[in-house]
Amino acid sequence: MDDLLKDFIIESTEFITGIDQSMVALEKNPTDKDGLNQIFRAIHSIKGACGVFGLSRMEKVAHAAEDVLAKMRDGALPVAPVTVGAVLRAVDIIKEILAGLEVENKEPEGDDSPTLTSLKELLQIASIGSAASASAPAPAPAPAPGADPKPRPQGSLAETSLRVGVEILDSLMNLVGELVLTRNQLTQIVHLDEGSRYQTPIQALNRITSDLQEAVMKTRMQPVGSSWAKLPRIVRDVSIATGKSVELVMSGAETEIDRQILQELQDPLTHCIRNAIDHGIEKPEVRSSAGKNPGGTVKLSAWQEGGHIIIEVRDDGAGVDFERVRRKVVERGLAGSMEAEKLGESELIRFLFEPGFSTAQKVTEVSGRGVGMDVVRSNVEKLGGTVELTSERGKGSVLQIHIPLTLAIVPALVVGVAGQAFAIPQIAITELVRVSDQNRERIEKLHGARVLRLREQLLPLVELRSTLEMKPPNGASNSSAETFIVVTQVGDRQVGLIVDEVFDTQEIVVKPMGRLVRDLSVYSGTTILGDGRVIMILDAAGVANRARALQDSEKSKSEKHSSARDSSVRASRMPLLLFRSGDGAPKAVPLALVSRLEEFPCERIERADGRFMVQYRDHLLPLVPAGEEHTLARSGTPCPVIVFSESAQSMGLWVREILDIVEGESAIERGSGKPGILGLTVVDGRVTEIIDTRYYLTQAHPDWFSGNRVSGRMPASSRKPRILFADGSPFFRELLRPDLEAQGYEVCVEDNARSALKRIDEEGAFDILIAGLDLEGLEDSDLPRRIRRDSPSLKAALIALTDAAGEASAASAREAALRAGFDHCLNKFDRERLMNAIQQAMGDAA
């Protein structure tokens, strides 16, 4: 591009950004002659340069805006929203043309006639007005020259600053990074050689390098205010669009932050400000009646605290309506209503950052589409920062973004896998767990060693060695007594990475990956260690995704094996916990029903009245042997127990050995009717018995499924509430139907949408529909709406069930369910929420 044109674009962009800000300031303070003059000069210079470059479109617009500004300056036109708005629209067009120029080197096409017309109309009004203004009161006198207490420092900045290309700064930063590495290597060499005469100069080199690093880092720093210039304009537009009066107060604009971070923060910050106005600040009349100033304030501030920059958006609006969030949480099926009651404010706030969660009552043009806060959070987290929201009802909300000062140098943990070193950024690590033979009770020695029992949680583990397809170096064996688990935060989840060795932490300089390896999502970059070795920086999220993808592909492989067996059955799959009980053959239980895995020493198991129990967290946990465990157990051996819990009740299934977590087909065939066995499924090509958890649960607590725990909440209705339950899986139909009947409902069961509709035609209205989201024919039928129409007395509850696991797929299932007309979408195996949803519906109706 022509250098001259390039300079013009840079300069004009600066001018234009300034105008945006000054116009909004002018609107607030219409008598500011200096401000107006400045704007006039900026537009004038742009117009002048247009002629030189032959930019006719921009010239026309700038010319019209200049004319209007001139009339405003002369007092023939007022400084008012209508005039300011027209000039701002012209500014927008100039911006657009500048952007186009930068890309295409020529003026982009566009229709400016509406803006030009409105500017011309203003001019006409001005000429009529000036004729009439002879009698009009004279405009407020301009402040006397010299009245402005702050003289504008002009020219002084130009003498002490230089314009330097960003690429030069970036290459400086790279070079310094390399210098740091070389210094580290040198320090290491000299460190080994005590009393070396290089010690002193190396120390000096050390200090100078650190100073240089800091100085170069500073050149990349920009005041945060440089990205705030657009905000006053946005606040003006949003408050006009929402009919609110909002003042934006900015402080700490001079706080400096890495250029790259600043750029990445731009969108999230803009979104937060929009949110504060749209969701936070109330309409003027609401504010007045609450005894507040009708105009709201949004305060944007930035300051440095240690190695972090904090950016805060504080509004004096209505604050978060926690009750509405709570209702929304229940509506969305994110928690049962009883569970939701217990949620504290900070827990409720967490939901605001969930994808697709919005409490806005209506979708506005400004916000409330439910995209936003989750994006804000993920963008900030990508930069290694955190977002925090606190709120007080009626007083307002405070959103704080904490961001590290710089990205280029990060502390990292160096670990070894199969004899090779890798770095994991500290920011992703939440803790480090060492698993040795002595404390193996913490790791569930499942077949593939994939779950770590960490406090109350079952933490999924990823074996780095197999995920990265690495082979151990010759001679090194797998049998080392110790394993390390690096617990990493991946979005909302925690994932444990199994590594062979943990070395040390180092400050590493992140270098981008070469283009042949850039596409590997398991790495986020490379670095050079103090000893000159090149190592890869692992991306925990990428590693976890790959591990999951590998599992899925194995799953589809085994699906291929089994599809020959019955191709008509859609191979829907669910995770199963595989265990061995007394008689030897592996059995399985749906993992979703399992709450914990425990191991108790045999001596601790007590027997009373033919029943077994164990002291467990101040409670007695009843145990039921799955086979003949109580006769096989020897003292001194650990007894593995699968714990099932619900509400306050728990029971333990005493098994001989826990084997693995596998994917099994959820299509289950009825078994022989043996007590305790629900049916058969195929796991890894072998027919495996699925235990009937109900059988064992009732053995431990005879009243587990009886209605007496909930009967108090049942409406005293003369007729039994009728539930239509449609699901494709015979296993699941059999699991849920008796349970519902035990609670006193009348249950009709169907296995596809067509027959369900037929049932309605034949038998009349139902009060509740429970349907599998994957029900055959559901999409084409209008089952949910049909139920609602026919339900005369009750407000029908429409509940979709899904076996989608994981945050993302559960969210998309939820969306699909709501679209299909359901009220709720719950996990298939979450009995408690399902029962809550049913009770709530019945309660609402009564």
């Binding site: 390399e178 070389t182 042949l516 390896v517 590997l520 050079i528 070795r533 790959r546």
Partner: protein, 150 residues
């Protein structure tokens, strides 16, 4: 460039074939360097090496051209080339001398070459003894375009 001009090539051998790269593309030649393997990377990526603080992607030319790894386990040489600001190192069996070759001896690549070779070869020079195959470094370091090579 007219037909009498001479081109300078750095010559090297892979599996006893004489290959050449124009001298102006070569930054330096190094003996075997420690290479950090990149798990999951394309099989022709031998790994990454540290060249005075800069990270260089090493390409195993044998694998890239679909040739079996060397059985004798002898050291390999690195030919460092620059491409779009990014550095690559070609791992080859041995590096020979710089040869001036007359432009007039240039011939297009024979049609009978395998697909991988055709992609990576921009022609041959007929020498007194045998052929010098000219390597197109740009295609060589572009593993996406190639279809099969292991």
């Amino acid at each position: 460039m007219n037909a009498h001009d001479e081109i300078e090539y750095i010559t090297f051998r892979v599996d006893d074939q004489l290959l050449g790269i124009p001298v102006r593309e070569v930054r330096e030649v190094l003996p075997e360097q420690p290479v950090a393997k990149v798990p999951l990377a394309h099989s022709s990526v031998a790994g990454l090496l540290n060249l005075r603080g800069q990270i260089v992607t090493a390409i195993d030319v044998r694998r890239r051209l679909g040739i079996e790894p060397r059985a004798d386990g002898l050291e390999r040489m690195n030919i460092v080339i620059g491409d779009d600001g990014e550095l690559f190192s070609l791992l080859v069996d041995s590096v020979g001398d710089v040869r001036k070759v007359s432009q007039s001896s240039h011939a297009p690549a024979p049609a009978t070459l395998s697909e991988v070779w055709k992609q990576c070869c921009s022609g041959v020079h007929r020498l007194e003894r045998g052929l010098l195959v000219v390597i197109n470094t740009e295609s060589l370091v572009n593993t996406e375009r190639e279809t099969s090579c292991t």
